[in-house]
């Protein structure tokens, strides 16, 4: 028998430990304010009476140190600007998201091997987010696409850039990019059109509504974050 540790740090992007320590302390459950409200309540709308409630504002902060396990190579690849997937040597299925073990029932959890993937793919389905993550709200309306990377048997969800939301469609060929300064998660990956998009069929009413929705979304972004 051997002991597995201790771990050796090979490369590191250091964190500001003092900042995060303080951040965690501030998110320490003690109320930072409160209010007392009156509202009708009861188990049914036929049975309501006024009640008073006290509400405390209680922050709670978490900070995880997460290992990407045996698929770490995908994320290490992002740091080098490369896209990796895994391939099952038995059945040939190619995974991105990668799996360290093949899930084809015939392959009995066979260990997979790493392969480099082309930065090309096709839109399997898409949406236009008018509500994205808070940290991405300034990018709304934001196209999200399930992208089948060339040669893979999976779709990877990612956002798209340089695309008119009105024109994105299923079947669109895309180029896949990795952020110049990758942070080390899937959000480092995004797609752009690799061909002139052929928009989906919309009735005149649908198109009018779609354009109004985009305009409303953009107006909110301008109001919240200032003009681009």
């Amino acid at each position: 028998m051997k002991q597995p540790g201790p771990e050796k740090v090979l490369r590191e992007q250091k964190i500001d430990e003092k900042y995060w320590e303080n951040w965690e302390r501030e998110g320490g459950w003690r109320p930072v304010g409160w209010k007392i409200v009156e509202m009708n309540d009861g188990p049914t709308l036929n049975d309501l009476k006024p009640e008073q409630f006290m509400i405390v504002h209680r922050p709670h902060a978490d900070f995880y140190h997460h290992s990407y396990g045996k698929v770490s190579k995908f994320f290490m690849g992002l740091l080098e600007g490369k896209l990796y997937g895994t391939k099952c040597p038995k059945c040939g299925l190619v995974y991105c998201p990668p799996r360290a073990h093949c899930y084809n029932p015939k392959c009995r959890l066979q260990e997979t091997v790493w392969i480099e993937l082309p930065k090309k793919g096709e839109v399997h389905s898409y949406t236009v987010m008018a509500i994205a993550w808070p940290s991405m709200a300034h990018l709304q309306p934001l196209v999200g696409a399930m992208v089948r990377i060339e040669g893979t048997n999976t779709c990877l969800p990612m956002t798209m850039r340089n695309i008119d939301p009105e024109k994105v469609n299923i079947g669109l060929k895309v180029n896949i990019h990795i952020e110049k300064q990758p942070k080390g998660d899937l959000l480092d990956v995004y797609a752009t059109p690799a061909e002139e998009p052929k928009p989906p069929k919309r009735t005149p009413e649908e198109l009018k509504r779609f354009r109004e929705d985009m305009e409303k979304t953009l107006a909110w972004v301008r109001k919240t974050f200032g003009p681009k």
Partner: protein
């Protein structure tokens, strides 16, 4: 031994946002209604006579509490009584009902109380979205910038592309659900927005969330609780003279990540009839069913429940349906996955009025997730309660709206699921 499982009573403490009332207090309101309906049930019997409890809530993050069910159980005066919580995202409450039914069938417990709840107003709404979204794969789905809204939207876009569903179909589903909820005194939509009917135009006016979905086509975030008292045949007959029976239960699963479904080797050839239905103009994935168009877990759960209940032709044999519809398109997909029609034809049942309140197969009579509300751990239990009240002819009494009671319905079907259809459950109820 009889394998019959009876519903003795069911109750809801209404959905709203905010409720401000504590989880244990909402649960107590619901359980108190059951005690009022079943005078022969004593809380002290649970420990003395070997009954059990099964609890349902989804998120420790939303509640800011782990093991919340220990608080509920204690609060109800049940300490000592065998109990545990089930948790599987949105499938949590339907799994609790399935689990309780299987406990009774095992012969281990003659009576089981199921209680479910959720609090969804205590985090800011973006954080609520996040708390829900981390039920998706946090390395590979969530950190793409997609919320659940966005994932379900990509599933619906696929349905529009492959089947020709339209924005109008989605809006019509939302109209059906919202207007169905208007007589429901447990529903959140009328509690917040009053008692007037809405139209397709109102849906179009509601803000875009993630195209093609708009606000009124998405589940509400809610607070509320519900409870069901289940028992074996002997105890059911002792405790009530108006029983409804759970004659079929089922549950199924699909991949964690929806992106893995189109070529999933585990599904290839499982449903050949459905695989045949695929447009020639669209590249055919390795596993054309479910692809992203349908929910395979719903199919597995429904067929298991039908087999269990001895149902051969669900469209003819089932009188009413409650579908777990976090987004409007799930109603249309569900109709297909539950064998009420062929894949791609869910929109036909909607357009032809089959699922309208006066149609052959009324669906979402409660208003379901977009209008009754979606306090996750309570949702499917409440939907089972709504169908139970219809089957036991209690809508007049429980809703105060006798006009909404269906005429002698025989059989109801309720389904629930979690994630993007990662796990699903179903029950068949029968008079």
């Amino acid at each position: 031994m009889s394998k019959k499982v009876g519903i003795v009573a069911g109750s809801i403490s209404r959905f709203d946002n905010p409720r401000h009332t504590l989880q244990e207090e909402m649960c107590a309101e619901a359980v108190k209604m059951i005690l009022d309906d079943v005078p022969d049930l004593e809380i002290g019997d649970f420990i003395k006579k070997g009954y059990a409890c099964c609890y349902s809530y989804f998120s420790d993050i939303l509640e800011q509490q782990q093991c919340m069910h220990w608080i509920i159980h204690d609060y109800l005066g049940l300490s000592g009584v065998p109990a545990f919580r089930v948790e599987s995202g949105g499938a949590t409450p339907i799994d609790a009902v399935v689990n309780a039914a299987l406990w009774i069938r095992s012969g281990m417990f003659p009576v089981v109380l199921v209680v479910g709840w959720e609090k969804m107003n205590e985090l800011p709404i973006q954080k609520v979205n996040e708390a829900i979204a981390i039920a998706g794969d946090t390395d590979w789905d969530f950190v793409s910038g997609f919320t659940y809204n966005a994932f379900y939207a990509t599933l619906e876009t696929r349905r529009m592309h492959v089947y020709g569903e339209t924005e109008e179909d989605l809006a019509e589903v939302a109209v059906l659900c919202h207007n169905n909820s208007l007589d429901n005194p447990y529903a959140q939509w009328p509690a917040q927005h009053g008692f007037s009917k809405i139209t397709v135009e109102d849906v179009y006016k509601s803000r875009l969330i993630s195209w093609p979905y708009r606000l009124l086509e998405c589940a509400m975030t809610s607070e509320g609780a519900s409870a069901l008292l289940l028992a074996n045949e002997e105890m059911t007959k002792k405790l009530t003279d108006n029983p409804v029976w759970i004659t079929g239960v089922g549950f199924g699963t699909d991949t964690m990540r929806p992106g893995d479904r189109p070529d999933n080797p585990a599904w290839k050839g499982l449903y050949p009839e459905d695989e045949k239905i695929w447009p020639k103009t669209i590249p055919r994935p390795l596993s054309p069913y479910p692809d992203l168009t349908n929910f395979g877990s719903l199919r597995v759960a429904a067929r298991m429940a039908y087999k269990d209940a001895g149902i051969k032709n669900p469209r003819k044999e089932i009188s009413l349906v409650e579908i777990f519809d976090p987004y409007a398109g799930v109603v249309l997909a569900g109709l297909e996955d539950f064998d009420f029609c062929k894949r791609g034809e869910g929109k036909k049942l909607l357009r032809e009025g089959v699922i309208a309140p006066d149609g052959e197969l009324p669906c979402q009579l409660s208003g379901a997730l977009t209008a009754q509300g979606h306090a996750v751990g309570s949702t499917s239990i409440a939907q089972v309660v709504d169908v139970y009240w219809q089957l036991s002819n209690q809508i007049g009494k429980k809703w105060g709206a006798p006009g909404r009671q269906l005429s002698k319905p025989k059989r109801g079907f309720v389904h629930g699921h979690g994630g993007t259809g990662c796990q699903a459950g179903a029950v068949v109820l029968e008079v």
